[in-house]
């Protein structure tokens, strides 16, 4: 065993000396490989953590949200719907919700105006989200005015700013009194944006939703599980943003591996020929190259993964912010809770380290089994 270990150390010493003879090329290769692993791992960690956090944060969202559609477009809930829904067996609680969007031309940002279901906001005051506080320079007891869509100016006093840790869900919120909301948007009395329902038996949610669709054919029930599924698919690696980023990184990796597998340079062939001529066995040549590929890919994997973790969870993913922010003016500042899927890490390891080692091994095996004289003359 000791002899075997010492033999491997000597092979590694020779491998490292060989790598040092082409320092610039090999350092460049290490840098590119590390960068690829960094991109892949960053996307994987970020998307998984966001999915996990969305599931945790939204697990108590309304069980059913009922919307009304007119010609396929979202329309207001008219009076009478709440009473009709209340008569359905299994419905425990119904709540008409009032919320909508407002475009602030001062900062060119969109806000979500909302009336809290439990009230608690005095007329003439509003509670704002942390991003609004930041972008508009607001604070408690400040005044602010908004011009409604019919041209009328409404002034409010900031009663409170929502807590910063909640920014991921409350960044753009403006909570207000119901009377103020109806006056601002000229919302007719008795009309609501949609209805939130709770069901007595969670196993009956789909049945209740079916009954709603039958009783109110112009309505669209949205279940909580569908809300969670929307976010699960949004940050799934198989779709959208994640697939785009992963595809580019995987393609770059495939090109790197293909370039390695497509053949050896004349210098590398000569080196192998000389080793065979001075008495190296084929197995030793292959072991040497395996160590080369293994050390390089393992170092790149470890370095890339650690850098990706630090980027996503310690520095709050600054590389993804421009991508996610798009044209938004308000963007939440949030710190994701680390959620690492061991299976994904293992998959990343097996699909970066082993393919690269295989890509290194294929051309080496061909050269190692060929006559040294023929290899050196090639």
């Amino acid at each position: 065993m000791k002899f075997w270990l010492e033999r491997q150390r000597h092979l590694i010493d020779f491998t490292l000396a060989s790598l040092a003879r082409r320092k610039a090329k090999n350092l460049g290769l290490l840098a590119v490989f590390t960068l690829l692993v960094f991109v892949l791992a960053s996307v994987m960690l970020f998307s998984h953590a966001l999915r996990h956090e969305a599931a945790l944060v939204l697990k108590d969202s309304p069980e059913i949200v009922l919307q009304r559609l007119v010609a396929g477009r979202h329309d207001l809930i008219p009076p009478g719907y709440l009473d009709a829904i209340g008569r359905i067996r299994g419905v425990q609680n119904t709540q008409g919700r009032l919320w909508g969007y407002y475009y602030d031309s001062v900062v060119k940002a969109n806000y979500t105006f909302m009336v809290p279901p439990d009230g608690g906001i005095e007329k003439g005051t509003i509670v704002v989200g942390p991003a609004l506080e930041r972008e508009r320079g607001l604070a408690e007891n400040n005044g602010i005015s908004f011009r409604s869509y019919n041209g009328q100016l409404f002034s409010y006093t900031i009663a409170k700013v929502l807590p910063r840790p909640s920014e991921l869900v409350s960044a753009d919120l403006v909570l207000m009194n119901e009377a103020d909301f109806r006056a601002f948007f000229t919302y007719p009395e008795g009309h609501y944006t949609d209805i939130a329902l709770s069901v007595a038996n969670p196993l009956e949610v789909r049945n209740v939703a079916s009954k709603l669709a039958n009783i109110l054919p112009d309505s669209r029930p949205i279940l909580r599980e569908e809300v969670l599924r929307t976010y699960a698919s949004m940050f799934d690696w198989r779709e959208g943003l994640m697939l785009a980023l992963l595809s580019a990184a995987l393609l770059a990796f495939a090109i790197l591996a293909w370039e390695k597998a497509s053949g050896l340079s004349a210098e590398e062939k000569r080196e192998i020929g000389i080793l065979k001529a001075v008495g190296w066995e084929t197995g030793d040549v292959i072991k040497m190259k395996l160590w080369e590929g293994g050390l390089l890919s393992l170092t790149a994997f470890l370095l890339g993964f650690v850098a990706a973790y630090l980027q996503v969870f310690r520095f709050n993913a600054p590389l993804f912010e421009p991508v996610l922010k798009g044209w938004s003016v308000l963007y939440p500042r949030f710190e994701l809770v680390p959620a690492i899927d061991g299976l994904q890490v293992a998959t990343l390891f097996f699909f970066t380290v082993f393919p690269y080692m295989a890509a290194v091994l294929v051309p080496i095996w061909r050269a190692a089994v060929t006559d040294p004289d023929a290899v050196m003359r090639a």
Binding site: R9, L16, A54, L56, V57, L58, D60, S61, P62, V65, G72, H74, Q95, R97, Y101, A109, N110, T112, M114, A131, L162, P163, P165, S166, E167, L168, V169, S170, D172, L173, L175, A196, A209, R220, I222, L223, E226, V227, T230, Y231, E239, G240, L241, L295, L298, T299, L302, F305, V306, Y309, F313, V323, L324, G326, W327, L330, P332, V337, P338, A339
Partner: protein
């Protein structure tokens, strides 16, 4: 005395492996640290009946993707292409068709 190259590499790879293990320890620690924030967010979402994260505030169908109808992304005119950057990133809402007898999309 010069150390062998393999010793240097083993030390470097060993340190990286330690850092890799440290990632999982740090992840567990940060999870405990930030659990309070998640609880606070969850409580606010439950109190206000929130259904979406405030990640993409460019347009209404990106701000509330789970509540959006399928027409709002193309609201400007019938042949309008998606023009908000985040609209290209997010997928349409995943709502099952409840009335299985029909093929209506929404």
């Amino acid at each position: 005395m010069n150390s062998r190259p393999s010793a240097v590499v083993f030390t470097a790879v060993g340190l990286l492996a330690l850092a890799f293990g440290g990632v999982f320890v740090d992840a567990a620690w940060l999870s405990r640290q930030r659990a309070g924030d998640v609880s606070e967010m969850s409580a606010l979402a439950a109190r206000l009946g929130l259904t979406d994260l405030a990640l993409f505030t460019e347009a209404r169908y990106t701000r509330h993707p789970s509540q959006a109808d399928l027409h709002s992304a193309f609201q400007d005119h019938p042949l309008a292409l998606e023009h908000f950057p985040s609209g290209s990133l997010i997928t349409p809402p995943r709502h099952e068709i409840l009335v299985r007898a029909t093929a209506s999309p929404d």
